[in-house]
Amino acid sequence: MYSELLDQLMTVDDVEKLKNEVEILRSAVFKLGKKNEDAFEQTLKNDVRTWVAEAIRKILADQTVDKQKFLQDLSEELKKLKPVQITLASQPSQALLEKMHDWLNVQVHPGILLDIQYEPAILGGMVIAADGKYHDFSLRKKTLEVLEKTNI
């Protein structure tokens, strides 16, 4: 049910944005008055990105889905996503981001998010921190190792 939304998420920033939108929608659900439906629809229209609004409308078109429970479960699902912090020496292109995201979700674990950090001092390669593990595959480290071995 949530795949339409979750599949679109690639980075931690994406998740943060969606979380904020879900919170806005949840507060709209609890608004009192006869125009509840309108308030929620108006929020979908004004305060939520178009693709998110469309996906939510599509899911809620099914009358059996409870609006309040759906948003709460979606919020919980977002918390379960695991971020992988990747530090790069240069700003990555969108294509590279997508490639990395797809590879990680297929090869490592589904539901992985990218937390991209920009650090030119690493020169090249990448530093990965995920689930408490830390691996430095940077050019800086390799260079320092070589310099240490050669006593330069």
Binding site: G132, Y134, D136
Partner: protein, 532 residues
């Protein structure tokens, strides 16, 4: 200390600060962190792991600056350690020193030493099993305080609790003991736990002014420091003491005080949301003190005589921490606020004080004197209620009043005064034999002070006094011996300087000839006689 990147690369694990709650930090990550492990923040702060669960790591921060949420954390894979060296002698180590310079995380070299021969890297909070290295306590530890040396003797390697209300003279006693022991070559380590800056300054001046600084290490944590750092202070002091003990030296360790330490630990644990137990202390409060004091004792190679200080409230000895400490230690010296209010200095209550192993270190003579004196003083306390009968009392009772007051006066001692133990024995003998008969108490005090000074200055007199103190094994022989030495003690030429032209005698009863014998004062009081 190596930098953050070094440890990150070494352990290949990372954590991130989730929540900062005073000095407690909750973080996620660090999958293989273990309790007690030191962690390093990318902003340079140091902390150590308090506890773990599957969601987060609980860290106690030792550094003062506030850490922000999201800051990276690296494991160090080492327990909290510190450098210890002989250079510590004469130093005052404050909290700031501990945090910046003392807590070392360097890699230990193959021989366990770093930065040269005389520096050790030692774990601060360790609980190694040293039971097989212990040996029986046989040597007395001289405090220089008459009432303690005679009635509540302490042995080298004993753990003796000093218990009393605020301002009842505990710290003065501790400083007297340190002066005595430092002059004898003992290494003295004083841990001041969570005290005010003013108090720390006062103690620093004491250690510098008393010319004993080369034998002492003063470790102080300020009450304004991080709770985690204050909590570690006694463990740091014990680590320093162990370093000198392992060199085969005798170490005197003072922990001032453990009730304050318990309060800081309670604060830390309540912040960490531990379930509060009795008096809101956490459940492991006994364990944290027991594992600290178990590190003291008399060892085959060196010793750590441990004097933890406990503070009672309104004379209540049944407090939680106080009773815990009593059960951990080998006895306690009680500083009684009632005695203090009566003007007794030091305000040690010998009847409620306990020494479990001290008596076994005494000579037979010292032991007999202690028992005789304790029994006599107990009788003296009992007959206080008949004091208002005054002249209606018989001579024997009147003599007990007279001698009891003399002994109380003899046991009184200024906080600056230190009395060598042989001199204490001989002076007791002089009082017991009733030298300076009918002299006012103040005059006798002058005589005692003069003789003590003479003992410290005149080696000939010192030798004679030492001979008297070691010659006899029984009290009766000792008193006979003292009587024969009246010219040396009561009529010593040095006393002429403090003898007034015509000293006005007090108005005591004339003691009976038998009263000065060694047996009469120790006999129990006949109740019928007392009723008369």
């Amino acid at each position: 200390m190596k930098d953050f990147a070094y440890y990150l690369d070494k352990t290949q694990e990372i954590g991130f600060v989730d929540q900062v709650f005073h000095s407690i930090i909750y973080a996620h990550g660090l999958p293989h962190a273990h309790p007690g492990e030191v962690v390093l923040f990318e902003t340079g702060e140091i902390g150590y792991v308090l506890s773990l669960n599957d969601q987060s790591v609980e860290i106690s921060l030792l550094s003062p600056p506030v850490v922000d949420v999201g800051v990276r954390i690296a494991r160090t894979n080492s327990y909290l350690s510190m450098k210890v060296s002989d250079d510590y002698l004469g130093m005052t180590i404050t909290s700031a020193d501990l945090e910046k310079n003392t807590f070392a995380l360097e890699e230990t070299e193959a021989d366990g030493r770093v930065d040269g021969k005389n520096t050790d890297l030692r774990e601060v909070d360790t609980s190694k099993n040293t039971f097989t290295l212990h040996k029986k306590i046989t040597e007395p530890l001289e405090t220089g305080v008459k009432v303690v040396d005679l009635l509540v003797p302490i042995g080298v390697g004993q753990r003796e609790l000093l218990l009393g209300d605020r301002k009842t003279g505990k710290s003065n006693f501790v400083l007297q003991t340190i002066r005595t022991q430092a002059q004898k070559g003992c290494i003295c380590v004083y841990a001041s736990i969570g005290k005010s800056q003013l108090e720390i300054q006062r103690l620093t001046q004491f250690f510098q002014s008393e010319q004993i600084s080369k034998q002492t290490v003063f470790i102080a944590s300020n009450s304004a420091q991080r709770t985690g750092l204050i909590f570690l202070t006694p463990y740091v002091a014990m680590t320093v003491a162990e370093y000198f003990r392992d060199q085969g030296k005798k170490v005197l360790l003072v922990l001032d005080d453990l009730t304050t330490h318990a309060r800081y630990y309670r604060e830390l644990m309540l912040l960490a949301k531990r379930f509060p137990g009795r008096n809101s202390y956490p459940g492991d409060i006994f364990h944290i003190h027991a594992r600290l004091l178990e590190r003291g004792g008399n060892f085959k190679n060196g010793s750590i005589t441990c004097l933890p200080v406990g503070q009672s409230f309104l004379g209540d000895l049944a407090g939680y921490i106080q009773t815990n400490l009593m059960s951990i230690t080998d006895g306690h010296i009680l500083f009684d606020n009632e005695y203090f209010d009566q003007g007794r200095r030091p305000a040690v209550n010998p009847f409620l004080s306990v020494t479990r192993v001290g008596e076994q270190t005494q000579t037979p003579l010292a032991r007999e004197i202690g028992r005789t004196l304790r029994t006599f003083l107990a009788d003296f306390e009992k007959i206080q209620q008949f004091k208002h009968f005054q002249t209606e009392l018989n001579e024997s009772i009147q003599y007990k009043f007279y001698m009891g007051e003399r002994l109380i006066n003899f046991l009184d001692q200024d906080s600056q005064e230190i009395v060598p133990f042989p001199m204490t024995l001989v002076l007791f003998g002089a009082i017991w034999a009733d030298f300076w008969k009918n002299q006012p108490h103040e005059q006798i005090k002058k005589y005692l002070r003069t003789l003590i000074d003479l003992y410290k200055k005149d080696t000939g007199f010192q030798k004679q006094v030492d001979d008297i103190a070691t010659k006899s094994e029984k009290l009766s022989d000792f008193i006979e011996n003292i009587k024969q030495q009246q010219d040396l003690i009561a009529n010593n030429p040095a006393l002429a300087a403090v003898t007034p032209p015509a000293a006005a005698p007090v108005a005591p009863p004339t003691p009976t000839p038998t009263a000065v014998s060694t047996t009469t004062p120790t006999q129990p009081i006949d109740k019928k006689e007392a009723k008369k």
